[in-house]
């Protein structure tokens, strides 16, 4: 028999595992939003819709792949393909047809354009996928369970949750960091994020960078959705939930900061799962409380750089 402390210590360990998986999902959807905000300075409300559409598309494509006889292992790459398709098609369309027309306008108008888009896409999803739960958990079942010892007992976790989600998130983080630091395009994106005026003054083709970044952000949003689809059943209203949380992450992280997004996601993920264990009623409040606390101490966000006001 374990004492209170030992038992709770073990629970804390479990909470860590759950928090990690949740953090991975939060990170995937928030990092794209943060990247887009950093470069375009547009807070994209429709990011939540892209997430939802990515999830739906992944489930549908997975079901289609299975019915057309693709082997079971294909259910994992299908998630990536669906995300790339959704982001790769919708991203450029949205950037070219809508956002492009309003870059010169006030930020609130840009925000509202994406809000309008969000409303339209919400109904569009319903039109395409209906209102009944859509699901395809092939990817989750593929890898089966992994038993984590828990005292004399054991707790089964899905390998998907334990390895795939954090794995993809870490790969995304490392890949993004490498891309932004080591490639020319990446450096240009960073330059635009840090000082838009200076970067455009240096002759950077902002239009191309905007298109690229937005598409990239859209793919990340869709990927976030696609990754969540094997464990969740998809119903209307998915996007609205996701986007508020991502907003909180972006503001907490600091604009355009991918490491900040990762750290914030981790904080949110862990505190949420710890809350579920020890203070379930506080669970929904944690992301917002974290944000308020962080901004009290660091008004520019965790990794944000104070904008120098030139006089």
């Amino acid at each position: 028999m374990y004492g209170w402390f030992e038992e709770n210590g073990l629970l804390l360990g479990l909470a860590l595992l759950d928090g990690l998986a949740y953090a991975a999902l939060v990170f995937m959807v928030a990092v794209g939003l943060n990247l887009v905000f950093g470069v375009l300075r547009v807070l994209n409300v429709a990011h939540g819709s892209l997430y939802a559409i990515g999830a739906y598309a992944a489930a549908s494509l997975g079901l289609f792949a299975a019915s057309s006889g693709l082997p079971a292992w294909a259910s994992l790459p299908v998630l990536l393909v669906a995300a790339a398709l959704v982001g790769g098609i919708l991203g450029p369309l949205i950037e070219r047809l809508l956002l492009r027309r309003i870059y010169a306008q006030e930020p609130v108008l840009q925000l509202l354009v994406t809000f309008a888009l969000f409303m339209i896409l919400e109904d569009a999803q319903k039109l395409i996928w209906g209102t009944q739960p859509v699901q395809n958990d092939a990817a989750m079942r593929l890898l089966g369970n992994f038993d984590v010892p828990f005292g004399a007992d054991f707790i089964p976790f899905t390998a998907y949750q334990l390895f795939v989600l954090p794995g993809v998130a870490v790969a995304t983080l490392v890949g993004l960091a490498w891309f932004l630091r080591r490639t020319l395009t990446g450096r240009v994106i960073v330059a635009v994020t840090t000082d838009r005026e200076a970067a455009t003054a240096m002759g950077i083709d902002a239009s191309r960078i905007y298109l690229l970044t937005f598409t990239f952000g859209a793919i990340l949003a869709a990927l976030g959705g696609a990754l969540s689809s094997p464990t969740a059943s998809l119903v209307p209203g998915l996007g609205a939930q996701t986007i508020v949380l991502s907003f909180a992450v972006v503001a907490t992280a600091g604009l355009g900061q991918i490491e900040g997004a990762a750290l914030t996601a981790l904080m949110i993920g862990l505190s949420r799962s710890i809350a579920v264990y020890f203070l379930p009623e506080a669970e929904v409040l944690t992301p917002y409380l974290i944000m308020v606390a962080v901004l009290l101490v660091r008004p520019q966000g965790l990794f944000g750089v104070a904008e120098t006001r030139r006089v």
């Binding site: 209906g130 739960p133 699901q135 989750m140 369970n145 464990t231 059943s233 119903v235 379930p280 669970e283």
Partner: protein
Amino acid sequence: MTTSASMSRRSVLAGAATSGSLLMAGSGAEAQPAKPAELKIGITTFLSGPASVFGVPAKQTAEMLAEQINAAGGIGGVPVRLSFVDENPGTEHLVGEFRRLVQSEGVHVVFASISSGSCLACTPLSDEMRKTTILWDCGTQRIFEEGRHPFAFRTQGYGTSEVLAPLLYLLKHKPDFRSIAVINQDYAWGRDSWELWRAGMDAMKPGVRVVAELFPRFNSTDFSTEITRLLALRPDVILSTSWGGELVTLVRQANERRLLERSLMVLPVAEASLPPLGRSMPAGHIIGTRGDHWVNHPRPRDKAALDRFVNGYQQRFNQPAIYPCHHMFQAFSALQAAYTKAIAAKSGGWPNDQELAAAFQGLTFDTPTSRITIREDGQGMEDQIVGLSSFGTLPYAVPEKMMLYPATNVSAPVGQKSVDWLKTLRAGLENTAGEAI
């Protein structure tokens, strides 16, 4: 068939201009109306958001039934016409729409709401506008226990019977359980249903240890943390009154991680989520349907009618008819019965609002599975059937070892508050309240 979709903007504007006179009709319930050209029914239901899982099938059912009724000559010779309102935008929008339905559309009757909050907001309006309102799906016990609503009638069961029946089933099926955990959606039904359950459980089987009370955020898509905690706690029983996509997600995630091998689940609102769950729903857990309308009901009142309805729906919409479809059926059935009764009482004359409402008092109407009587407080007495999940010919789970609980055995008597009544229950009721069928 005419539904709201065909209503043009112009007709709404015209309605706005002429409804001064309609108001008169609405408030003067004693006026003697002539037989109208159409019987207008306003229906509030979820057309967007997560609860559209229920709302849209119900809407489809209403359209199908209206078509059938009209093909058969309408109600009392008058064809019905439906207008739908989306509940999702919130109360402030909904009560405005309720007024529009009554004052501008001039509906004769309103079918109100899936959400309890919507019902609570609409019933006072039914009092004020003296417009017969059928509460066709919402379950909150607060409606008729906290006030009198002479124009509102619920044509199905409610939270108390829908929670008590599975509790009684559990007490009989697994009388030796010692610990329980609850994982409900964090909103009124999730909280209310747990309060009802707890009151009944503590009265009939004191001393059960409640090891966890989890109320994850409404519309959550990830329950892995909660599941881990439940796996670690190993409660004998896990109760969840969740519904829709969330229940599907919860059961799938729980099943994948073999939680359902460790604990017995009690799912009072399982039925609508069983088709999408398919084989992910393991056998041997307690499932309910907010009524008695299981597709495999062993002895329905009218087998042919049940098959006709269920198969007709399946064929037309390529989906199984889930419980909201049945609740919509009940609302239509009650409406037809009430009009027949009112017209007969008036020797063939068309009833006004007051007379229509009067017809609902003590009304008995047929459903494919049984017969429902509306009590003097407006509450419908719908029997409950609970069973254990099992697999037969269908690709999804249906109940076996079913117990039927007559509504009068599992409903708080008129004038008593549910929680107070549940506290008076005593052990042994599980052996007398229901019968195996």
